[in-house]
Every structure is written in structure tokens, then in C-alpha cells.
Amino acid sequence: MYDYLRAEGVTQIAYVPDAGHKVMIDRSLADADAHSIPLTTEEEGVALLAGADLGGAKGVLLMQSSGVGNCINMLSLTAGSRFPLLCIVSMRGDFGEGNPWQFPMGRATQAVLEAMGVVVLRCDAPEDVMPTIRAACSMVWGSGEAVAVLLGQRLLGAKKF
């Protein structure tokens, strides 16, 4: 996924850390030709990537589903200005979740994104991932849409408690 996104022209990788994105984050930190941007809150990433687009650059926002809730009003920037946006969201409060704190936002993630005009694509099996990422890139940079790819816990595995 990392190599594919870089080949698509992605140069800004923004994230609030999550275990589900560990490999992507580590790859971005080791990549001298890309900007690896740790955020304090996910909504910064929505704005950051809008600025990247103003300057003709592409980026991706990596976050956990809990971070989707932090982005709600900032997505009005994306929708109103028709900024392309690619988010990859690792799910919590999903298949096999053992932490009850994660369920309210996990249940609301897809609805919140769709309410703010973001197209949601979901992956629950390893063979779904790359076709979905390729489709998302086409929708984002071909058509100018905002797309979130949700990586389900059936795919990622649930954290043990």
C-alpha cells in the first residue's frame, strides 16, 4: 500500500498514530522523499491535505475510527471547497472489540463520514485491500472526491484486553 500510494504521487503522510497503521507510519518515517507528519488531532490532517492540494501535492490521512469524530466540522472545508481527500481508517469498536469505550464511535464512523459527504469503502479481507486502495485513488485524484477506506477489525484483528 505504501509503495502504491507513493507511486500515485503521495508526498504527505499525516497521521495520529494507531497500531493498525504502524507499518505505514514507519515506512513514511524512513522515506526521505516524503513528509511524515504526526498530528495532535485528526482534523489537522483534513486541513493539512487541503493545503497540500492548493499547492498541487497529494497526501493521505491515516487515523483510527475514533479520530473520524474529531474531523466532522473540518470536513466542511473538504466538501465546500471540493478538495480531494484520501483517508485510511483503522476500525475500533468493530468485529471482536473487547473495549467497550470503542463502540459508540466505531458504530458511528461510517454514518458520520457519509453525513459529511465522504465516500466510504470498506475492507474486511486481505484480498480486498489493494483493489480498494486503487479504486479510492482513482476516485480521489481522478474525480476529486473525498474517500475513506475503512480497514475492519476482521481484517486487522482485535486488540486483546
Binding site: T11, H35, A47, L48, G56, L77
Partner: protein
Amino acid sequence: MAQLKRIAGVNQPAATLDRREAVPALIERPQDWLVVAGLAGTAQELCAMTDDGPNVFGLGGAMGAGPSMALGLALAQPNRRVLGITGDGELLMNIGALGTIALAAPANLKLVCVDNGHYGETGNQDSQTGLGVQLDRIAAGFGIAVVHTINTMADMAEGRRILAAPGLAFILLRVKEGPAMKKPRSLRPHVVRDRFRAALLGR
């Protein structure tokens, strides 16, 4: 009317500058910059200073977006000078963005906060800075190496020198309450985005 109490022990000079004079005195040639201007006052005045120019993306909503947008733009355009200008209210809303910016530290990015200590668009309520919160100390605490505070016109020349020099910097421009310069500007953000990209990228 009941008032919020000031934070005890903070001594700052009273803000005396009029933003309608202070902002143009600091940002002499806005047309030389790629600008992201936060809602509401700074977007109004930077659009007014450039006649709604295509090099200014002025926000009308999405409060808290400005500094982060300026960072993304600065990283995307390392050979252009990028100005992120916003007010105290917007900066406070996503104050952690200063840490993100300090870490990335693009040499072509300057941040200016026009701090009037109030929420001027919503009834002029005191903001936290109007009650003693010091954004210059916060910026320095986040690790931004060059921080300059402008309280009077005498502080302006150093601000202009910092804006002209390379390196990330944060300038706190303290102004009194009062209106920003204002001319009609487009409030259709997709139009502003498209014209910004067309002028910069030709597409």
C-alpha cells in the same frame, strides 16, 4: 454585565494598535505570498488587501483549519513563501497545530496571529488571550524558534525583517478591538480553491 476574570499574575501591555493600519504595515506586499487566511477578520483583510486575489485562500468556516492548511501548502510549494495568518480564536481552536508545524518546520512558512483578544464576529466576547493567555509563549513552548510579539509600531520593523528572512517564524500582532478592513470577497470556497490552483499551478 458579568465579566470573566482575568488570569491572575499575567501582566501584558494594553493592546493599542488598530488592525486596519497594523496588518498592512506588517504584511507590506501580500501579493508576494501564497496566503491562507483564517476566519474571519484576517480572511477579510487579506482579501481586501489583494482585491480578493487568487493567491489568498480565505476561510469562511471550518474554524481551526488555517495554520494546518498553510503547513500543507508550504510543504507542497517549498520554493514559494507561504503566509498563514489567522486570529486568536481560530488559533486557539486547534492550538496543537503549532506543535505539528514546529516539528515539520518548513523554512518557507511564516505564521502571523492577529490577536485582538476577542471573538469579533460573534458579539465581541473575550477570548482567552484577552484574559491573559499568551500565544507567543505557547508558540515558543511548542518549539518554534523565532517568535516575535508586536505591541506597538516600534516593534513592526523587526516583524518585517523576520517575514523577509528564511525560516519558520511566529509573529503575534496584538491589536485592539475593532473592525478589520473589508471588501466584498467570494464566499464560495470551491471557486476560491479553483482560482488559487489555476493561478499557481495552471490547472
